[in-house]
């Protein structure tokens, strides 16, 4: 649910990075954080365990510029990917305007990807959303690793709706901004239609 503030002439939107454990959601945000001008970003917050696994969420506020005199601000969140943190994932999806699904391209993680997409659908439905109705893009991450599935296979299993999808290597930044731009565009286009 975006927030339009006429007083501050600002529009705020919430984007959630979803995906199985260790697929690279936090790495996406870290790369965006490192490569963004200091005046366009706030502090990145990571609520993580001692072993750097996301416990609750990561948060990164970004300012993208102005549209028709309104500052556009995007709040990027990740969910904890590990299966047993499902209660937390549901909370973070509240009020979401757009979703990025980060898939792990490794063959051995295909099942985890599919489970995570199903989990995303279920959790969105609990909040009254439908995945088909919200701005949604997919990133096939870790393309640099050996033993990865082909993009065709990933598409076939994870992208039946044919939403925008990108190959990524989040560690080095490949595809990270393409993915972000794609979801941001979809969110703004949705806003034009009159909001989610």
């Amino acid at each position: 649910m975006s927030f339009i503030n006429y007083m501050a002439r600002e529009i705020n939107c919430k984007i959630v990075y979803y995906g199985p454990g260790l697929c690279g959601k936090t790495t996406n945000l870290q790369y965006i954080y490192e490569r963004t001008n200091p005046d366009a970003k706030g502090k990145m917050i990571s609520l993580a365990t001692e072993t750097d696994r996301t416990l609750f969420f990561d948060f990164l506020p970004l300012a993208l510029g102005e549209i028709r005199g309104f500052k556009t601000r995007f709040h990027l969140y990740t969910v904890p990917g590990q299966v047993f943190y499902d209660a937390s994932r549901k909370l973070i999806l509240k009020g979401v305007d757009g979703v990025v699904f980060v898939a792990d391209s490794q063959v051995e993680r295909m099942e985890a990807n599919e489970e995570s997409v199903e989990n995303l659908k279920t959790n969105l439905e609990e909040q009254g959303y439908k995945l088909e109705k919200i701005p949604y893009v997919i990133q096939y991450n870790k393309r640099d690793l050996p033993e990865v599935a082909t993009v065709e296979e990933l598409r076939q299993k994870l992208n039946p709706m044919n939403v925008p999808d990108y190959e990524g290597v989040a560690r080095t930044g490949v595809g990270v901004f393409d993915t972000l731009k794609a979801v941001a565009k979809l969110v703004l286009t949705e806003l034009r239609k009159g909001g989610p």
Binding site: N5, K43, I67, K94, L191, R192
Partner: protein, 160 residues
């Protein structure tokens, strides 16, 4: 539609700002701010210059969401009030009308009793303002400034 879109107009913003400005004084607080349940900062007052209010807003919403999750498991509706006591600073968090969150940060110049008392009054006022705001937003006559944006406007955002 799950939630009506959150929109803030000048008139209501000024009313809200008045309430938080007064609460800072009445409660002897350091900072007062209001966040919606999704973590968007709505208004702030007091000594906010040295404070990362954006981060605080998102963490407050996360906190309320987590507590709300616990409440659900215990078959409670909500835990509407939270208090965190530190060595120097204390935080009082109040859910208002199950929609926005009122946060008061205070130190030894104030007390929990005073803050609770003043927060109660401010909550009622805020609740009325947000109710009125919601009605206004739900009015089909309300127009969006984004209805007119073009693909070009959107593309321009991403031209580095």
């Amino acid at each position: 539609m799950v939630n009506p879109q959150m929109v803030m107009y000048e008139e209501e913003f000024n009313q809200i700002q008045n309430v938080v400005d007064r609460l800072v004084k009445d409660a002897n607080a350091k900072v007062v701010f209001i966040v919606d349940k999704n973590g968007q900062l709505i208004a702030a007052s007091g000594d906010v210059d040295n404070l990362d209010t954006t981060s605080l807003a998102s963490l407050t919403a996360g906190n309320i969401a987590a507590t709300g999750g616990m409440a659900k498991l215990l078959k409670e509706n909500e835990f509407a009030t939270q208090f965190h006591e530190g060595e120097k600073a204390n935080i009082h968090i109040q859910l208002v009308g199950n929609r926005v969150i009122l946060v008061v940060i205070f130190d030894s110049k104030s007390s929990l009793g005073l803050v609770r008392l003043r927060v109660r009054r401010a909550s009622e006022e805020l609740n009325n303002i947000f109710e009125a705001l919601l009605k206004k937003v739900a009015d089909p006559g309300a127009d969006s400034p984004f209805a007119e944006i073009t693909d070009e406007d959107i593309d321009n955002l991403f031209n580095d």
